[in-house]
């Protein structure tokens, strides 16, 4: 399927780009939860792992088509998102963060001890079904979905909850239901990302979905600018590719990576594209074009 790409990209770049695409899908899901709705989640990698294991087990044990496995991964993850969201989304800010952190650890330990997941040995022999072409298509679908969600009645209610929960409720928004829906949608995309990941790497180990990975996803969207779709895309791209391109400095690359983040937070504390919205980008362009045509008429 990736024959077009392999004409001018070697396998290494294809692998890196496919991984980037998967991270983009998952990061955009987290952006909906944390960036748009303002609910801090430290457990995103755990949701990724739920999707990964679900799809892998469906492929291995039931031999169902990849599309079914992916969809099941997304749905299963969303169900767990709802199950976690129902009791915890009454919490706010740091408290919710700690609760999701705990959930992430539980998921990791459960996968480590279950027989069907291969325990600490991991799950190997997953068919390689993920292709770059497919990931690119899914990334575009995800971006479109996120854009539509954000610019709708539903999206407005999410932003309102982030901005002021009390006022949002007083304006007639069912806070609990809306938050849980946002959580389910965000974790759905994490699940799909996990399914793609499983069928790319072909081997799953619970240790790959620990707290550090969850933190990576938060770093992606914080660096890019919380709540901004272009921001989440840029942040994920920069932070996923930076370690690859910094390989030439070998031992120092994680240090440079860290320094980059510190520097970024000082220079642009709201993220690279903080406050930039896709819809507003389009709107501004429109204003500019009408503006120039108006001034052109005056001349």
């Amino acid at each position: 399927m990736d024959s077009i790409f392999s004409m001018f990209l070697n396998d290494y770049y294809i692998q890196v780009l496919t991984m980037l695409g998967i991270y983009l899908i998952a990061a955009l899901g987290l952006n909906l939860i944390t960036g748009v709705t303002g609910q801090l989640s430290f457990g995103h990698a755990a949701f990724l792992s739920i999707g990964a294991y679900t799809s892998a087990i469906i492929s291995l044990k039931l031999q169902l088509p990849f599309v079914v496995a992916l969809l099941a991964a997304g749905l299963m993850t969303a169900i767990w998102g709802i199950l976690l969201g129902y009791p915890t989304l009454r919490l706010t800010g740091d408290y919710l963060g700690i609760a999701t952190l705990g959930f992430g650890e539980i998921v990791r330990v459960v996968f480590l001890n279950m027989k069907i997941t291969g325990g600490a040995l991991g799950l190997a022999g997953i068919p390689r079904s993920t292709s770059l072409t497919m990931v690119i298509i899914l990334v575009f679908i995800t971006i479109l979905a996120m854009f539509r969600l954000e610019n709708s009645r539903f999206g407005r209610s999410l932003i309102a909850i982030r901005e002021d929960e009390i006022a949002a409720e007083a304006m007639g928004i069912n806070i609990t239901k809306t938050k849980i829906t946002a959580f389910a949608l965000g974790t759905f995309f994490a699940g799909v990302g996990g399914g793609l990941y499983a069928h790319l790497i072909q081997y799953l180990n619970p240790q790959d979905f620990g707290f550090v990975k969850s933190f990576d996803f938060l770093a992606f969207i914080v660096l890019g600018g919380l709540g901004s779709i272009p921001g989440a895309i840029l942040g994920t791209t920069v932070l996923t590719l930076a370690p690859e391109f910094l390989r030439f400095v070998a031992d120092y690359r994680m240090m440079i990576y860290g320094l980059l983040m510190v520097f970024m937070m000082i220079v642009r504390p709201r993220g690279l594209l903080g406050g930039v919205k896709l819809s507003r980008l389009f709107a501004k362009k429109k204003v500019q074009t009408t503006g120039t045509s108006a001034s052109g008429g005056a001349n």
């Binding site: 709708s152 539903f154 932003i159 901005e163 304006m171």
Partner: protein, 256 residues
């Protein structure tokens, strides 16, 4: 006689040992402007929070158009037709003025996340209606020319008015205004007063908390006075002005 829109019957709320609102009775008639006054800490905002469902009363009954609304969640009470503003402005500051008002339309519309994803003709039509109705609400408060600005960039007086516009967008029958004139200059207060009259002319009932006596006396049909959580007086502005209990609460009793 006009109908009662809101009725509080022996409503009490305690926070630990503190009785913030103590057996308050009140009836508001449809289409009138009612003011609630009292010294700081008298329990005025608590009464608002009781009516809008932020706190359930410890005892007593609150009825809105005949329905018992004790223990209803705030969003359901808004749906029934009570909207409010806040003493310390609570706007969605990173959203545009128009989007703030659109949130007010939330409880009168239905498109969910599936509608958002699929964007069918019904959803698009609903969205157009939301925009139109929100602009209407902005026009009443004379903010329509600022629709695309971020709420946080509005001057203070306009932020207060935006809160009212947002509340209006939810098509309320009763609107609660918590210190709407706070921090406004005399001219802004005049504008606000005429806007509140305009809202009343639309058939809405207004219940407001306010410290500015001139504002209250000019505007309200009836006034209720609260002190230490208890109702100490109720009546027309003229009656309240000459009520000895009210004067004592505000100025203290004469010595000797």
């Amino acid at each position: 006689m006009s109908k009662t829109i809101l009725e509080m019957d022996n409503v009490t709320i305690r926070f630990g040992g503190l009785t913030a609102v103590d057996s308050v009775d009140m009836k508001i008639e449809e289409g009138t402007i009612r003011a609630l006054i009292g010294p700081n800490g008298a329990g005025k905002s608590t009464i608002f929070n009781l009516i809008t469902g932020i706190y359930p009363p410890s005892s007593g009954e609150i009825r809105f158009r005949g329905t018992l609304i004790n223990g209803y969640k705030p969003h359901l009470i808004t749906e029934l037709g009570i909207a409010r503003t806040f003493q310390n402005i609570r706007l969605f500051s990173e959203m545009t003025v128009l989007d703030n008002v659109k949130i007010g339309r939330h409880c009168r519309t239905k498109a969910g996340f599936l509608g958002a994803l699929l964007r069918g003709p019904g959803v698009k039509a609903e969205e157009r209606a939301i925009t139109e109705e929100s602009m209407e609400a902005l026009k009443i408060l004379e903010l329509d020319h600022k629709a695309d600005e971020l709420a946080k960039n509005l001057p203070y007086g306009e932020q207060r008015r935006l809160e009212i516009a947002r509340a209006m967008a939810s098509n309320p029958k009763l609107i609660l205004l918590d210190e709407p004139a706070a921090g406004m200059n005399p001219q802004e207060k005049q504008t606000l007063m005429s806007m509140i009259r305009k809202i009343q002319d639309k058939g809405l009932t207004i219940f407001l908390v306010e410290h500015d006596m001139k504002f209250v006396m000019n505007l309200s049909d009836r006034i209720m006075v609260l002190d230490y959580g208890r109702k100490i007086a109720a009546g027309s502005p003229a009656e309240i002005k000459s009520n000895p209990a009210v004067i004592a609460a505000y100025l203290g009793k004469e010595v000797g």
